[in-house]
Symmetry: C2
């Protein structure tokens, strides 16, 4: 950045030995749930606060809620990986790539190719262990600089290959799934070696960061310079800056720092037409139609984001956690509505429903001694003295960030409003716990899958006036459809409000079920998820708040966008990527126009 | 809005007798500057606080600063309108339109056509009085509902006409100027009869407003329901919601409410492909590439915005004004930088440079009695006691809005920081005056034009570290170029910081000069403005903060956007409007692809 007199150029992040990720399940390789011989559950390793604790209540609670048996020895053995399709051959293209890329930047390893052909939907994770693997990339390329991305795009255009960018691989919309009928050679472009912070401008509070930088590394490196970018999606451990832009991501602290579209000041991208870039980064502009904006939510369809300039914020003077209990979900939502109308909304505030509140309790370790006593007393106070119904009560968890004065003012507002709505302060510890659970719980889905549970999350955003009805109707509808299908026991149905806006909220649902004895369990789940989405749309919810469309939700697009709106996206794609080199086929765009390969070397 | 249980459907705004606008100069017909026989200046009418006061200091001050004579009787008589070109004929098209539009919705009145062919750049305003009028619309259409806009677009496609949307006509980028070589029949689409608030949803704090609604009416109507949308550009008296979207507008209170892109939740538009619309309005989404975003800054190139859903905010509990004097501009900028890093930035804060501060003083009415005494005392205190240099000191004006507690906290922060930077509180009255002057001063440019002054404003945004240097360098460069050209006296060169962001500021320049005896004065001005813009870009400033590109700044686009970026805009335009029916030619887009009319009736 020529203009700033005070830029810092941090070194590349050093690779760490403990960062290896699992290929067959979510997360780090050193972390997984297991059932102990006494029936307690434990999360291995030491990475999360939940780790290395005996959790005696989890299985009994799940059995009780879902009316199904859970036994340590009742396992559906995963067959990961189920047969991996052979890669297509394209020797001329590979020869061309070898002029630019080193051998370790090109991988045709079957498991690596497999991993780059999916994200983390239940369908995808079920398929690699129990199902049939469809079309996957024929090659994975790991560029290390923007010039290599440009070379790759040129080569793909010349040799009629198809490119699908890959960030953290955390997609939950099948955005990474390869189009089944793609006859061209498919390249997954893994951006994670482009992971550097290129510069930090501490005066103007900006940083230029490569698109493959992973959230946790961005946080860590910026922290060393006294800054944060403030973007903390639940996937922050693995997802990348480029992925955030391409999926239009939201961070849990958006109330203070903004969502990704508020944080990004400039985007560099390689497209079929060349590099999108600008001569300067200014705070705000009106310079005509701005193609950078078109990349938000583009899901890999229009090009590959290579770096972005983002806002920086000084690390907050104070970070306080908090929690509040409310008698009912309705009370909690009413409280959030009032809070959202103030200018004292904390960095993050979430409201979990009763089942999720209970779930959090079931994840508590065996309490002993003084701790057990304190816990009992608390419980007594809430249930007996305040008259809260344990089957109705809900919890808010809060992160306050800012100056001492700001946080004090927010706390005053928050707890004052809560009290008026019948809420009860439940302490910082429960708040911390709520947020920490987010990361540990992410491992549970793949763990329970082999114990005959299929689970998945999905989200929406909805105006305030419809929020409560939407939550209730989606749960009711799924319960009805579940019963109609005579599926085992009871479904696991829970939701939380994860974001508040002036005009509405983001709602995050979890739906899980016990699939033992159910034919085609993954398809059954998918069918029910479609029904849930229909119910969401019927109740005024959006098709997605921050997960995106990918291939999972593309069928619903005609329900929410007018024909002209869809035509615009399609026509723009055709104009900007006429050969569909960015052929992920997300949002149903581009794929049908893909020209058949003319070179004989295309598919052998 | 089907989903909200509590929508209000306000009636159409009643037309008022005093709202007639001038055709040859800025603003309302009842308001204009005049020179009195005693040499004082007066603004007629009673609309603004500046009105009906004798301003004895203005002309002497201007003469002194610019080293030129100003005399009441030294007038360059305006010849408005200079010859207005005949309208093209297109009887088939007109016959088609008459099936849908009433006679009073179609105008070929020469002065109406003329007014719809320009905005308010000095070139445009000079041309209609002293210059040559170029290509102007052949017809002005006033649709009253979205269906009529759709009909108009279809007819234009069928009969190969060219459409240019028209909002408040306040463009300062020649966005309304018709492409000189446009051979097709040009229709100006005046949206101001689509001026209704369609509904207000007080629960979810949203309103759906037609695109032709004028800012002042939006404010007034929403106020009646206890709300504001918080968008207050300096042109608010005349500019429209649709215009704000198309130019990517900024409001002076954006610190509290956001800029236009932060306020708009949904956009309805008629395009060549049909209507862009959505099934629901949710607080935030990730639903793939979003064509609604492409309309921000589209400047009429892609379609006609017909309505938008915007956020509403309750009217603030408190609105306080304030002002602060600083010894130098540097001190003022340093103060703003510190303030911008807090979360206590007031709704609006502006910093004027010394010349603009003096200008404000020169616009003070004759002070008499106690008022004169007070004014003298103040001056004594600042200049003598505090040692402020009258040729260096600058002023900040501030609007605080919010709850009592918020405003109190902001005031504490603002005045505390100001004191540390050597600032001195200068009272609410000076703050109010600063903001009120904005609207009255807008009339001065066209008034002084006939007294041989040409003046114009232009803006930019720039990172903090370059802000002060940019201001100084632009002024220095213009002064040098002025002297090199041996132009009369001294140029009028002043700037103010009008917006603060985390990463930088918006700077607004005024440049004026005395053109008596100068051949082609408007061209000379334009040439100097281009030089100023080059200097801005050289100093890291943006091509525009909120005015836009239009035709005025399109020549600079290749300096700021890479070839691929420009190609994207061009290719998208070609795909989305293949016949260039939205043929304004802004940003240099589309015009060169306009097919020649094939019908003989096109141009006669």
């Amino acid at each position: 950045m020529e203009n700033s007199p005070t830029c810092i150029f941090p070194p590349a992040p050093a690779p760490k030995p403990d960062e290896e990720e699992s290929l067959d399940v979510w997360g780090f390789r050193d972390t997984k749930f297991e059932i102990l011989s006494n029936g307690s559950v434990r999360l291995t390793g030491s990475r999360y606060s939940l780790c290395d604790q005996e959790l005696p209540s989890l299985l009994p609670w799940v059995s009780e809620v879902m009316k199904v048996p859970v036994r340590a020895d009742d396992v559906y053995p995963p067959a990961y990986p189920t047969p991996i399709p052979e890669a297509l051959a394209h020797p001329q293209f590979l020869a061309e790539l070898r002029k630019t890329f080193a051998e370790d930047q090109l991988s045709q390893d079957p498991k690596i190719r497999l991993r780059h052909g999916h994200g983390h939907t239940q369908e995808e994770m079920f398929a690699i262990k129990y199902g049939k693997i469809g079309r996957i990339p024929d090659l994975v390329v790991f560029p290390t600089e923007e010039g290599q991305v440009a070379t790759l795009v040129e080569a793909a255009l010349k040799y009629e290959a198809c490119l699908i960018p890959f960030g953290g691989g955390t997609s939950v919309t099948e955005a990474l799934r390869c189009p089944e009928n793609e006859a061209r050679f498919i390249v997954s472009v893994d951006m994670r070696r482009m992971n550097r912070i290129l510069w930090i401008d501490p005066v103007n509070r900006m940083a230029c960061i490569q698109a493959g930088a992973v959230g946790r590394h961005i946080v860590e490196q910026l922290k060393g310079h006294g800054f944060t970018m403030g973007h903390e999606p639940d996937s922050i451990e693995f997802s990348t800056l480029g992925g955030w832009i391409a999926t239009h991501a939201s961070g849990m602290k958006k109330n203070r720092y903004g969502n990704i579209e508020d944080l990004v000041l400039d985007i560099h991208a390689v497209t079929a037409a060349g590099k999108l870039e600008r001569s300067s980064v200014t705070p705000r502009e009106s310079v005509g139609s701005d193609p950078r904006l078109w990349l938000f939510g583009s899901e890999g369809n229009l090009g590959i984001v290579t770096s972005a300039v983002v806002k920086l914020f000084p690390l907050p003077e104070v970070q306080n956690y908090g929690s509040i209990l409310f008698p009912t979900f309705k009370d909690g939502v009413a409280f959030l509505y009032e809070l959202a109308q103030t200018h004292a909304v904390p960095a993050s505030i979430r409201l979990v429903d009763n089942l999720q509140f209970q779930f959090g309790m079931a994840l508590k370790p065996k309490a002993t001694g003084l701790k057990a006593l304190k816990s009992k007393l608390e419980k007594f106070f809430v249930v007996k003295l305040k008259g809260f119904d344990p089957q109705q009560m809900v919890a808010c968890t809060i992160v306050f960030e800012g100056s001492r004065a700001e946080v004090a003012a927010q706390e005053k507002t928050v707890y004052g409003l809560a009290k008026r709505r019948g809420g009860m302060k439940a302490g910082a510890e429960n708040g911390i716990r709520g947020y920490q659970l987010t990361f540990g719980i992410a491992y549970i889905r793949d763990f329970v899958m082999k114990h005959y549970f299929l689970a998945e999350s999905f989200e929406t955003s909805v105006p305030w006036s419809q929020a409560e009805a939407l939550c209730a109707n989606v749960k009711r509808r799924l319960a009805e459809e579940y019963e109609r299908r005579k599926l085992p026991g009871k479904p696991f149905l829970t939701c939380r409000v994860t974001q508040v806006y002036e005009t509405g909220v983001c709602v995050y649902f979890y739906f899980g079920y016990y699939y033992k004895g159910v034919p085609h369990p993954s398809e059954v789940y998918a069918e029910l998820e479609v029904i849930a989405r229909e119910e969401i749309l019927k109740n005024g919810g959006s098709l997605s708040h921050h997960h995106g469309i990918g291939k999972l939700r593309q069928r619903f697009l005609p329900q929410i966008k007018s024909p002209a709106t869809l035509a615009w996206v399609e026509q723009a794609k055709r104009a900007l990527d006429p050969h569909n080199v960015f052929g992920s086929g997300n949002q149903g765009v581009g794929a049908k126009d893909t020209p058949a390969p003319k070179a004989a070397g295309g598919a052998q």
